[in-house]
Symmetry: D2
Subunit: 341 residues, 4 copies
């Protein structure tokens, strides 16, 4: 039985408590929040959970095996480090930290203490993304030409982070999971239409050494909600529409056939191929539940999470580079080459 304490009971904390509470092999033993009213809610719903306004109480409690941090990103590093130093396994909300330097320090601390460090990039645990990962890794799609994501809607404007950290962060984690390759450069544009607020729309292009290109279009200012990803491979192509109630992922047996024989005239070199479309049945388990089970499994069996500190750090690196490029009106920003650890 893994005993878990949750720090922060705002927007996401209740989902963490619910999922861990319902998990076989885990128990929620404590919750902290600075707002006593929120703790009162916890008490009513879960009379057996210990609540406190001081997170240190939870870190000091030897019965706590792991800590889940669901507080604003500006506090992630400090709380994560304190938890690791107290010997706890750590689950941390996305984005992992404000800077990649902080992320690296958490990784090192976790490695030193042999603790599990899990970053909650929930999308990686959806049936849709896992199916896409299978298709890519099996070679069914062939060489990956591009990844193109549109993630727009009206609101909810964030106060402390820009739209890249809020929405594109999902694509950065999905890309790391799907491609297993780190982008080498980024070019981003964006704007804040209201003075004194973070950028509310952004367009990000990621370049990879393998020739894959990724593009992400995020906005809080669109009249319609769109959650659409296209992935193009040399053999097949995928669409993933997260708003469809069913058939979210469609696999198109479509593609370009290309011969680089310069003798052939151009029209002969590029051909089109179209075949069936398949919408595979997806695992419909709640992604957060799948992630929570995986976290407990990593603790019990000393595994590295699929959304490890490394993946979390890669995401923060891309956020940093994209934000920097955006403020330079699309100026190319290079990211240090790094293979997935």
């Amino acid at each position: 039985m893994v005993n878990i304490a949750v720090i922060g009971y705002g927007y996401w904390g209740p989902n963490l408590v619910r999922n861990f509470a319902e998990l076989n092999g885990a128990a929620v033993v404590g919750v902290s929040d600075q707002d006593q009213k929120k703790l009162d809610v916890v008490q009513r719903r879960y009379p057996s959970i210990k609540t406190t306004t001081r997170f240190q109480d939870l870190l000091d409690d030897p019965s706590v095996d792991a800590v889940a941090i669901a507080t604003p990103v500006s506090t992630h590093f400090e709380l994560g480090m304190a938890a690791l130093r107290a010997g706890k396994h750590v689950w941390i909300e996305k984005p992992m930290t404000e800077t990649s330097m902080q992320a690296r320090k958490l990784i090192e601390e976790a490695e030193r203490r042999e603790r599990v460090l899990f970053v909650d990039h929930t999308f990686v645990y959806t049936g849709a993304v896992r199916k896409m990962g299978e298709l890519i890794r099996s070679g069914d799609l062939g060489k990956i030409y591009y990844y193109d994501s549109t993630r727009v809607n009206l609101g909810l404007f964030q106060r402390d982070v820009n739209v890249i950290s809020d929405l594109a962060v999902h694509d950065f984690s999905i890309l790391d999971y799907l491609l297993g390759e780190h982008p080498v450069a980024v070019s981003a544009s964006g704007i804040n239409h209201f003075p004194g607020t973070p950028e509310n729309l952004a367009y990000i292009t990621l370049f990879y050494d393998s020739g894959t290109i990724a593009h992400i279009n995020v906005s809080w200012l669109a009249p319609v909600k769109v959650r659409q990803i296209l992935v193009g491979g040399s053999k097949k192509m995928i669409t993933y529409n997260d708003l469809e109630p069913s058939e979210k992922v469609k696999i198109y047996d479509k593609g370009i056939s290309f011969t680089d024989d310069p003798q052939k005239i151009y029209e002969m070199r590029v051909g089109y191929r179209t075949g069936d479309m398949l919408a595979p049945k997806l695992n419909e388990s709640e992604a957060l539940r799948v992630g929570a089970e995986h976290f407990v499994d990593c603790i019990v069996n000393s595994k590295t999470p699929e959304t490890s500190g490394q993946l979390g750090m890669h995401v923060v690196e891309i956020i940093e580079a994209a934000t920097s490029s955006m403020r330079g009106k699309g100026e190319t920003v290079y990211i240090q080459k790094g293979k997935k650890a």
Copy 2:
């Protein structure tokens, strides 16, 4: 009666001949093409039209008032200049020329000779774009925050131009028509996945002095066809889906209400507003017909076309800047400031 000769009877030429032939107040008197077989087709369909493999025959014919040029872009400048110098009014396919310098020379020649110079950016004459123009100019949308276009499909790979010249060119002309403002800078990314071929997908961001931002996503390598434009204003927002059989344009009474009063806390400063959605009835006339009528009207009444040489040149300037930025991996390229003439 305006007598028109068409040069080039390939992909688009037959549409020009058909539209001008059916127009009151105009007649097609000649067609030239280097391929005699194509001229034979013209002869069978339109026995009264003079055909020739030498375009000069048409320019030398004093009964010809205007020339429509529907040849590859590499020949536009030479043919356009010859036609103007022969005293003809000129209709020229998009993009107008290979370089903005060539475009400027055509404009100057047309002004000097007081000839009409019309660039065939057909989208400007669609019911959808004209309705959007009305809404923007009437102030119904308020301040324009952004324009976001996705124009992707599988194929048709072009041999001589990249995907920007093939697809984004439509958005550049629509933007010039809608905004009446020239972008000041561009950042573009793109890639050619097959050696020796033009770029087959591209992402372009345009920056405007007024604060408007425009983004265009074009690809020949998508499994599904998308033709979707979003326009966000401070009062209302628009979607334009060109693939819908009806209700292509939808006007959302949605928006952000923002107060810049720093005394108010953040949540109070940004609010959301949602109301009705209206899909206005659009003029369903064939856009090319509307353009052809407008061309004849400009000749007869000495007017400047809505898709003038100026507009055509602006489009070429943006293609040049976007292609340059794309080859610099998103590097910002500035465009000389210019107000719509």
Copy 3:
């Protein structure tokens, strides 16, 4: 403060308890169910509510003002009559009773005792149906030509009622609310594909004296879920797609213009008209909450509910007639003429 007791804590009962519990001006004071385990759930969630396995305890309790009956339809009459005789106001789930005779007796008992009798046809309280009602009653749609509903999906097969009672019942109540007119005849077809089970798909046509025709297609055996209603009027037409996340109701300014001047040739007599499409903003309040508030208002202010016993009885009459016609392979079954009371 209206004190409410809920009988039956199966599928729908928990929704009733939650909505009444959160309502200003009402309180849930008791819940009965034959299954003690379900009552234990109530106790944990709502410690202050009295629970009992004997509904008679609730009827005997003088502090109970109203009773909501959420038990199988075969028990509705007996429980409803007992509650009315105990002087309680009654909320009863749909369909109201097994037979129209039973419905009439409940109506008479409620009138005799001046108690409110409310039938929970929840759809009548949705923003979509209320907007449609406004449009029809204001005359905006003109004369109503037809109502056409498709309500199909895969499962959930019911054990004790056929697909008419399960799904078409919604349309019968919506029709009564929208038209304020009772059908005079019905023709229905349907089938049960599995021996010993109720009919799992059915097609019902209702005829009205005014010339309106209504058609309802219901199925538990469709591969896709559809919830689509079309309403055609002489001036405008409506579509209502309940599965759309937004813009559920669309008003088309489309129609037929008809002159009955026999002098004119046929083509001149029928013309088509198309104009704008408007998707009005709808009230997004939970329909059950709106209904619950209305029930309390009816009790406090001695009003007749919009989903009165009369409406509930009309629905049962149509179910009876449709089921009878269905078993006669479409044979016309006449319904006694009745105006909405």
Copy 4:
């Protein structure tokens, strides 16, 4: 080389001439129409085709092998009989004749003279319907539970036939092709909303001995165009949306698993199963071309067409029965049992 003459050059005739003219192995040698202006159009487009206002000229011409009849339905019988008696093979537009008695006489005449009698139910030759036929005949769908078609739009009101003959006729032919079984009874409802015009909407249910049920909803008075067919089988289910530009046919690996073991409780007897969805690549050849090739092949190789006189007669029988039932407000009308010849 099969020499074909076309009688009637109104709405559909030009399509027949174009398709037969472009076919290898066939030639159009004559066209007749009562309107000389239409014949002038033929002359301009096809100078080598003989035109006449008297169809008898074509029947008297010994070089004519086959006649295609594209005139109003009221003339089909007379013209078809005259053509057969003149020894011609006959292609006849749908519906085949006004009465099933007339259809039977044409069949007998064709058999006596060993001529091909082809009824142009074009839908049977679409890639979509042929794929559905394959799936049903291969047993992939299992036992066919139902066929459900919606075929509605605004206009075009017909003068001489009702909406059943205009639109439902397509479903009747598709059903005959797919099921190879003739319905035993029909129940239909419908209405004409404008005095002196044919019924403009209708709902038809067909009953089959095998237990299959079919339902067809047709209207000229709907604000949106719908062309949607659902087919449910015991193993798989199909949707066919003819308005989709691609993926028109979708095969759902969904179904009900049913055990008729009465010992099991109800919930255990009915179960749901959901799996992948596949949209197979369809043959995109023009259906009329496929039909025209088939007609020529039947003539040359003495085959019976897939859309034979028998199929055409079955369709007329259903139209007769449905129209009769409709005028009896849904009254069941029995059709004589007949197996597909």
